[in-house]
């Protein structure tokens, strides 16, 4: 990218703002003391500084500032700064990067950049979006990336804003999603305003999320910012994709730099490194294992990063006629393909297992019971050979345990799986003999037959159970939705495990963008804002984004609904309103039974249910400008409600249908 050659020009009239303010304060105080009329308008008992205030606007403060500055400054408009402020330079840098949006909850520590983005930057590329909570804004960036492949920036207040955002950063970290975190902070105590601004400053604010970010910096100059911002972008977008953090000095944002400080200001060009690929020998050895296997199984979690990655996995699986166990971190494999598997049955039968970007290799080939006397051990047959391909082996931190338990393998390829798949495909092709092809064809026929038997009426029969039940079953909900969306350009921007994965049992997922996987770190509160972020990415393609929204997750930060309404983000949210934290209900049930204490709803409802009162999600959404329908508990009312909501979403607005559902 070209350097911004205009960005180092400064106004020759620039004034050093710190010296300017200091002088104004001294002169202003003297003037007030000398002028009884002006002194009389000051609030009683308040020591009002002549420095620009972030206090609530009032006539007395305004007049006090006017009074002090009107008699003391040499310039015609002494209360203003002249020249290009530091935050304008920051905008110049940000504009060279491919960042479509910056999501923020407004904050004094970022006010300089905020003002520059919306005025100097014209509020385009990037456009500033409003979030009601930094956790939601960060989760929006998480969801946006998984659809667009481009990172967003999450601009937060120093300290408390980042504390709010922390869980969403952890989710993004575990899910290998790059979100560019930016916060305001002032290191120099003599320039921090007292009270709240100082409460919200820190010596090392990045420390609180450093264990789950890939890189951070607190630049000390504008040139330093330019280099660090570009570096942060580059690091975030190099697999493994991860969040990064840049800390912005408040004074650096607000003040006009000395001419000498920006005389050689330049913005570095960014070049994203090619993702690491597997070693040739290790890849060939893996190919030999796969070709010679009796029942090879591919296991994918975040194997695909793009449509091309998904297609490469299909090619490899078909080449080998190997089942693909999709753990669902991404849209890895078409769910109606005869080689698509969910669950561990295929792994139990395998003689070779290849894990592709797995979160948990140990948990893939072992089992541990959640019982009063836990048992654990391998689920694979003795002698099964294991291969891991992923970046987990080459990038790991110590504190948070997202790396899971240690699993010995026969071959460990520390590389990006998607980038390595083409090499593996070629290696497999080069090693195939006619004998191998005959075995593979026979295996493929068995798998096609097994798939046909499993699909023959089984999903339909299962869906028919409780078809007319109220609360409404997940199967009925999913079937009603499928009927209305199957001819649309649709995408599911939420998980579906909470309704027993019925969309994956009924809907036909074929494209990478049709599914965004899960939250990574499993932190609740991700679902709604990530769906809004994903829908924002789908908006430019005119796709129908669908969010099956858990009620408990929604209540963490429902303000994301307002963001969707305010920014006209078309998103269909269908509430899975089962009125409880049902996973916790089941945990409590388990403990009561283990301890022989009996299990009665008078007790298990304590701190597990969302009732008394029930949440009216339609009213909640309506209050934030989201068109809403419901609550609906009669399955026969579903289709017309969904049809109305889809029409609204296709018109460019968000809509919500509150559906009272079975627990799972």
């Amino acid at each position: 990218m070209a350097n911004n050659t205009d960005s180092n020009s400064t106004d020759g009239q620039a004034v050093d703002r710190r010296k300017f303010i200091k002088g104004a304060a001294i002169a202003g105080a003297a003037a007030v003391a000398a002028d009884g009329v002006k002194a009389a308008i000051l609030p009683q008992g308040d020591a009002v500084s002549a420095t620009p205030s972030v206090m609530r606007p009032s006539s007395s403060y305004a007049q006090a500032e006017l009074a002090t500055s009107s008699v003391s400054m040499p310039s015609q408009y002494p209360g203003v700064s002249n020249g290009k402020p530091g935050s304008d330079y920051m905008v110049d840098v940000i504009k060279t990067l491919d960042i479509d949006y910056i999501i923020t909850n407004p904050a004094s520590s970022c006010r300089g950049l905020h003002e520059s983005l919306v005025t100097y930057g014209g509020n385009t590329a990037p456009e500033l979006l409003t979030t009601m909570h930094e956790e939601s804004g960060t989760a929006m960036g998480h969801g946006y990336f998984k659809v667009s492949g481009r990172p967003l920036a999450s601009l937060c207040h120093g300290t408390v804003g980042l504390q709010h955002a922390a869980m969403a950063v952890y989710n993004a970290w575990c899910d290998r999603a790059p979100v560019i975190m930016m916060i305001g902070n002032e290191m120099d105590a003599q320039h921090r305003r007292p009270g709240t601004p100082t409460l919200h400053a820190a010596q090392d604010p990045a420390a609180m999320i450093r264990d789950f970010t890939k890189w951070d910096d607190q630049p000390a100059s504008l040139q330093h910012f330019a280099e660090s911002m570009v570096r942060a972008y580059k690091i975030a977008l190099t697999p493994p994709y991860e969040p990064v953090l840049i800390v912005l000095g408040e004074v650096m944002q607000d003040e006009v730099p000395e001419p000498g400080a920006v005389e050689h200001f330049s913005i570095p060009k960014v070049a994203i490194p090619a993702p690491p690929t597997g070693d040739g020998n290790a890849v060939r050895e893996t190919a030999a294992m796969l070709v010679g296997a009796e029942y090879p199984v591919l296991v994918a979690d975040r194997a695909a990063r793009t449509q091309a990655g998904m297609q490469a996995l299909v090619e490899l699986a078909e080449l080998l006629q190997a089942p693909v166990v999709d753990q669902g971190g991404r849209m890895n494999f078409p769910n109606m393909h005869h080689l698509y598997h969910r669950g561990g049955a295929a792994i139990r039968r395998a003689d070779v297992v290849v894990g592709l970007e797995l979160t948990d290799m140990w948990g893939t080939v072992n089992d541990m019971s959640d019982t009063v006397h836990p048992t654990q051990g391998p689920v694979v047959r003795p002698g099964t050979r294991l291969v891991s391909i992923g970046v987990g082996d080459i990038y790991v931190r110590a504190n948070y345990q997202d790396f899971q338990r240690y699993q010995p393998v026969d071959i460990a390829i520390g590389a990006d799986a998607e980038a390595t798949l083409p090499l593996l495909i070629e290696a497999v092709k080069s090693q195939l003999t006619d004998a191998h092809r005959a075995n593979i064809e026979a295996r493929g026929q068995q798998l096609r037959d097994a798939y046909a038997r499993a699909r023959a009426n089984t999903p339909a029969q299962a869906a028919a159970s409780a078809w007319n039940a109220s609360p409404i079953s997940g199967a009925r909900l999913s079937a009603e939705m499928w009927e209305l969306i199957k001819n649309e350009d649709w995408a599911l921007v939420s998980r579906d495990q909470s309704i027993s994965a019925w969309p994956h049992r009924i809907w036909d997922f074929r494209q990478y963008h049709q599914w965004i996987g899960g939250p990574g770190g499993q932190g609740v509160g991700y679902g709604l804002p990530a769906a809004v972020g994903a829908a924002l990415a789908h908006r430019e393609h005119g796709r129908l984004a669908i969010n099956i929204q858990n009620d408990g997750d929604c209540m963490y930060a429902p303000g994301a609904l307002w963001t969707a309404a305010h920014h006209r983000i078309p998103l269909l949210s269908v509430m899975h309103n089962n009125r409880a934290y049902h996973q916790e209900v089941m945990h409590l049930q388990r403990l009561c039974s283990w301890r022989q204490r009996g299990y009665d709803d008078a007790r298990w409802r304590i701190a597990t249910t969302i009732e008394d009162p029930f949440v009216d999600f339609a009213k909640l959404a309506d209050s934030m400008g989201v068109a809403s329908i419901g609550p609906i508990d009669n399955p026969n009312d579903l289709a017309p409600a969904l049809r109305r909501a889809i029409d609204i979403v296709k018109g460019g607005e968000p809509a919500l249908v509150d559906v009272i559902t079975q627990p799972r």
Binding site: S369, D370, T371, V372, H373, R455, A456, N457, P459, A460, Q461, A462, A463, A464, S465, A466, W467, N468, A469, P471, S473, G474, A479, E480, W482, E483, Q497, S500, A501, I506, A580, H582, V585, M586, Q589, R590, C592, S593, W594, Q596, R597, G598, Y599, D600, D601, W604, Q662, P663, R664
Partner: protein, 118 residues
């Protein structure tokens, strides 16, 4: 004629017994439904025993009572055991009666939305 009268007499005596038995069964089914919800069976298996990702289908056509009871009492797997101290025998029998009372679902072939699902 005598046979008919005898049959009528038997029927006259048996009818109230059958009615009472049916009423008792209904009462047990209702008590079973109440126990099924109170104990929380529905959280994993659904309100109508249809099954979910968290627990298998229980109804209609539940397992024989002995098999169901044995599993409920003895399991050491993902589902916790419900011993008589936790789930009295009468409650379990009522739950079983409730599961038996759940009607057959519609034939998928008769449900337009399910006809294209393979």
């Amino acid at each position: 004629m005598r046979s008919i009268l005898r049959l009528a007499a038997v029927a006259a005596i048996a009818a109230p017994v059958l009615v009472a038995a049916t009423a008792a069964l209904a009462a047990d089914a209702e008590a079973g439904r109440e126990a099924y919800e109170r104990v929380g069976c529905y959280t994993c298996h659904g309100y109508e025993g249809q099954g979910a990702g968290t627990g298998p289908k229980l109804a209609p056509d539940p397992l024989p009572y002995a098999a169901l009871s044995n599993f409920v009492r003895q399991t050491s797997g993902a589902m916790p055991p419900f011993t008589p101290a936790v789930l009295p025998e009468e409650d379990l029998q009522n739950i079983y009666t409730y599961l038996q009372s759940i009607p057959q679902p519609p034939d998928p072939g008769d449900v337009p939305l399910l006809q294209d699902i393979q």
